[in-house]
């Protein structure tokens, strides 16, 4: 009864036919499309648009770009296999993508081991560029630490003493809470944490959590919840009146992915990082917006921008390196300047982190929908710790 085993293996052999001689430049892309569709659906649209634009202008180095996209199964094991498949079967030497921190880290490690270039698009964990960083990995999105730091000026200005922290109980939430505490302790001596609620991801017991926060009588709330957890928390919190007369500082909540589902219940007055897509006036963004709406008849989410800039970055990097060889790409990416929809930014040589910033502002209601007001663009460079600290964090082998 080994027939099937044999048949399936034989099947696999035929599937795994050697990669054809390359007419195009192949980029391997992998992401948790099934598990995180709210962010990654627009993300995919974003990079598809970028590829179309690049190829319409003749591609890079005289070749067209071709993206081979895979679902990473939202877990490191499947992700590493997908990466392996892209490298060994499809013959790519460039990887991009990932959303979840643990998946991002696993692929980072894989890239370092197999010496392929990896541009981490969305995973936010600081470790990708710092503690567990390596030579072959760069990251586009502002890290957890950076985004928390971007919220600091407004937070300090509110000068609240007693804080409640609520975050999803996994790397991203824990790291954000830790960064918030560290930054606050350093800058506001009377800072005090009155309660910490670490909720299981996707399973928040919102009523009880909101109540526990209210009972701790904080002056301010630092929120890291997103997605469905955020929606539940906001609705319970509003009904129970726990946000009244309190400063709420919140990561990512201004991103359309998470803000729009709240509709007219968007929590007014929260200080957030986000993406006020219909209010950004710079020409780079206007052009992006116009093209995106023309192509998809829908407005872009932050994911769209991330996807778009990911491919734009790779195209620019390959053009600068004049090669797709990982080592040359790494050199090219150091200091690589990109003009994205948010304006110019660059990839730092010291830790391979892009300086693309975020918009920080307040949530308001306009025409029955949540939006951001009083926002400003905070550049990534402005919130980075001193180089000496980063050198301590980052392994020497990574440079």
């Amino acid at each position: 009864m080994y027939t099937r085993l044999f048949a399936s293996l034989a099947f696999a052999v035929t599937l795994a036919a050697p990669a054809m001689a390359q007419q195009t430049i192949k980029i391997g892309e992998l992401n948790s499309y099934k598990s995180q569709p709210a962010f990654l659906d627009p993300y995919k649209k974003g990079w598809e648009m970028a590829i179309e634009e690049i190829n319409a202008k003749g591609g890079v180095l005289g070749k067209k770009l071709e993206v081979i996209s895979r679902d990473d199964g939202a877990n490191p094991g499947t992700a590493v296999r997908a990466a392996d498949e892209l490298v060994t079967r499809e013959g790519v030497s460039i990887l991009a993508g990932t959303f979840l921190s643990n998946v991002g880290l696993a692929v980072t490690n894989f890239a370092g081991q197999k010496k392929v270039f990896f541009l981490a698009a969305e995973p936010l964990t600081d470790k990708i560029t710092w503690q567990d960083g390596n030579k072959y990995t760069f990251r586009l999105r502002a890290s957890t630490y950076m985004q928390t730091a971007m919220l600091m000026p407004e937070t300090l200005a509110a000068h609240k003493k007693r804080w409640a922290l609520v975050y999803p109980n996994f790397e991203y939430g824990q790291a954000a809470a830790a960064a918030f505490k560290e930054l606050m302790k350093a800058k506001q001596p009377d800072f005090e944490v009155v309660t910490e609620q670490a909720t299981p991801l996707g399973k928040i017991d919102a009523g009880a959590v909101a109540q526990a926060i209210d009972d701790a009588k904080p002056d301010g709330i630092f929120n890291v919840l997103f997605g469905g957890d955020l929606a539940k928390f906001v609705r319970e919190g509003n009904t129970r009146g726990i946000f009244k007369n309190r400063t709420v500082v919140s990561l990512l909540s201004g991103e359309p992915e998470y803000l729009d589902p709240l509709r007219d219940e968007a929590p007014v007055g929260w200080i957030v990082t986000g993406y006020p897509w219909n209010k950004i006036k710079i020409p780079e963004h206007a052009a992006f917006l116009k093209a995106y709406q023309a192509k998809y008849h829908d407005y872009p989410r932050l994911g769209s921008v991330v996807g778009y800039v990911t491919m734009k970055s790779l195209a620019a990097g390959i053009a600068k390196a004049k090669s797709t060889e990982p080592d040359k790409l790494v050199e090219a990416f150091k200091g690589l300047k990109i003009d994205g929809p948010f304006g110019p930014f660059y990839y730092r040589a010291i830790d391979h982190q892009a300086t693309m910033g975020c918009f920080v502002g307040k949530i308001a209601l306009e025409n029955g929908k949540g939006t951001m007001v009083d926002f400003k663009y905070v550049d990534g460079t402005s919130v980075m710790p001193p180089d000496s600290e980063i050198k301590k964090l980052r392994p020497a082998s990574a440079n």
């Binding site: 099934k34 679902d71 964990t125 539940k232 129970r240």
Partner: protein, 628 residues
Amino acid sequence: MTLNALLFQALNGLSSASSLFLVAAGLSLIFGVTRIVNIAHGSLYMLGTYIAYSLAMHIGGALGFWGGIVATAVVVGILGALIEIVLLRRIYRAPELFQLLATFALVLIINDAALWIWGPEDLLGPRAPGLRDAIEILGRHLPTYDLFLIFVGPVVLIAMHLALARTRLGRLVRAATQDREMVGALGVNQAILFTVVFALGSALAGLGGALQVAREPANLSTDLTAISDAFVVVVVGGMGSIGGAYLAAVIIAEVKALCIGIGVLHIAGMALNFSKLTLVAEFLVMAIVLIVRPYGLLGRVQAAVRSIAEPEEPIRAATPTFKLFATAVLVILIFMPLLARNSPYTLVLGIDVLIAVLFATSLHFIMGPGGMHSFGHAAYFGLGAYGAALLVKWLGAPMSVALIAAPAVALAGGLLFGWFAVRLEGVYLAMITLAFAQIVWALVFQWEELTGGSNGVIGVWPPPPFDKSGFYFLLTLALTALGVFLLRRFLFAPFGYAMRAGRDSPLRAEAIGIHVKRVHWLGFAIAGCVCGIAGGLFAFAKGSISPETIHVQRSIDGLVMVLLGGIQTLTGPIVGASLFATLQDTVMRQTEYWRALLGGIILVLVLAFPGGIVGAFTRLFTKRAAVT
């Protein structure tokens, strides 16, 4: 925490309990009568939220909301009936648990269908008309909708209780829950009873989901969350006990509310964050309850369910043809690194397939011959993987040491958890294994200093020459072949016979001097140990591991592999694992809707081969042999 705060959190707990209870009640009803482990129940719950959302948004107002909730329950009930009639009815005679495979396929299909219909974004429904605000109790604000939910739970409980006690259908349901064969003997049309029960249970799931529309957004991941919660509640309460389900829901919800209410506690200079316990609160409760009360809080000792499936054939030693064939396959696999010189990915996939084979074979060892349906086999995979990875990370151990440690750690886990698990039976055993797996998962997840938390352990790469996939493939092949061979040998040895004896008839086995619990306990530990090898191999194959290694998804994958191949055959898990692993890899590349495609393929296989693929072939051959 003041007394008022505590009391108020108890109220919060009660409203959560009602939601938990509604899903669980439907599941309990369905399982009690049909004995089907319906993991698509959570999908029906999810559909409930989506349908109620659509009705509330499109019709609008009180009619759209409240009328929509009622309509949703009806629609989902009809859908449940259809599932029973079109699909499940065809496979009632398949080996037990086989229906799980069909409902697993439904989970995949329904999830993609929902994605297709409603799109990827979270959909937050409107607030409930008439119950938008909060009232003041104990100096705090309780949403009126929560208050409403607090009453819904007991109302449904009482209604169900009356229906079960006073109506003919109710009496039939109770009778069927106690002894399924009796109902057949009473001259009741079993098919109609099953359909009606399935429809009612599904309607309750739909109702539960619909009522959530005012509290949480419709979201594509609620299906799995709901099913796991529902199973825990049903088992803690005692299968078939509706009152027990409510009691369990209240206890679990209250424990969670209390953990949240306590928040951070400082004990002897240590800051303990109780809110983190909500990650596993229900599984901790379940493990404790099952250890103390093996049949749940209000459950009764179940009458032995005589399987209506065709019983298993006696195992036969390998025929010469089979031995020749197995050797040929092995030889081909040994030469695979040469054959696949030009397609290195074949080896990458091959390594995954082999690891899956070892994982599934070790699960089958206790599931099939042992009759112990472990729903938490990933625990031993994870223990092996973490055992190996942590040795490398913290002690810089070489791969050889790590790969020896992997089965040792898993063996220790198997001995510990197995000791408790073999004391239980049937679905209770399944659920306590799941609880243990979840507890291991949570421990790994939370113990960040040691395990790296949710990020896991990275940088666990094999040393040369095994960094070449050809060599690592051979290593994996050697260990997998060894593991599979040993397990097969054990099954043909007295120990394997004793394990089957204990499964076939525990009383008879005890009466001929077999210590059934001990035999099963050791069987459990052996399976865990071998599974640990698979985990260790996995860690080095991927270079990194994270808590997903232990996730319930992996346990379910294991069940699917075993059932797909055929639980009653010894080669079934090998075929099932190879097929499933290859299929998953292939399908994931084909289409955006790969889950639905995978689900569809599984459904076709389920209907074409009830009894599993190898099971069907074996039956075909035995029948042919009987004819000639």
